[in-house]
Symmetry: C3
């Protein structure tokens, strides 16, 4: 079987797992959560860039994105940051729904699956 | 690496992405949302048929389905439409939870992953 | 194309689907739901062990875990049971959000993807 590679491991999750040409990222939230959905989205996607790069992928290799919003009224704000980040790259399949988060100040969480 | 193919692309998502024998569909919602969960589910699955067919898959090739319901009390109504749609095909693995959606009239959203 | 294998099939889902070296499990909930999040998590993960074993995988082969909690305040209780279960195995990528469930007594649901 193809080997499993894990990166940025803590006691409960690996931030990236690579297997059989596919990279599974953990759900990402913003480092600085004292800001709005637009800015949280920008932070998440900047961090995603670094994580994807660390396994030889990038935003042009995305297969699927799952996005959770605390308040679905922030859909347009998230989307604007998302589209700007894509910068013309062909986008992944995607699903966006409202959800609650473990920390009250989290407004958006994004989980990416990419090809490597 | 296996190539990535994307279909029905807009500025924020591709409705289908194919990579390494797996097709990732975006979360689908009904075209006509002025109807109940049963009818929204039927519309979604009819659209899923067309999308799956466009990449050479069909409902018998499903690997995983994620289903979100605005009101979990509609679980049985969704399920009945789902089972009828399967029409005896072996079903995918599945998870169904309640969630909020960006548009108030969305009652159900379904995201499919299939083999091609 | 690689064949699709399905196990523990009912009319609406298969509890495991295997394709191309990847096993997709359905979202699992506890058998005995008259107990707290910690104990529901333990039951789910014990059942996951048996399901993974049935297709030749185990908790060391996990690629991705999605966890839904009825009450995100139970994050630490779920996490403690999760970490204990891992028993030192390298963890999968993971995302955890709050959600509603079809049955009121469900407090946690876990969906796993594994390599086989």
């Amino acid at each position: 079987m193809p080997k499993i590679e894990r990166f940025e491991i803590n006691d409960r999750l690996s931030r990236i797992v690579v297997h059989n040409g596919t990279a599974y990222l953990s759900g990402l939230t913003a480092d600085d959560k004292n800001t709005d959905t637009s800015n949280q989205t920008k932070q998440i996607l900047k961090n995603a860039d670094a994580l994807l790069r660390s396994v030889g992928a990038d935003r042009s290799k995305l297969l699927f994105a799952q996005i959770w919003l605390r308040d679905v009224k922030d859909f347009d704000a998230m989307n604007k940051a998302w589209i700007k980040w894509l910068d013309g790259a062909e986008p992944p399949a995607r699903a966006t729904v409202g959800a609650n988060f473990a920390l009250h100040e989290i407004l958006v969480e994004i989980q990416l699956t990419a090809a490597i």
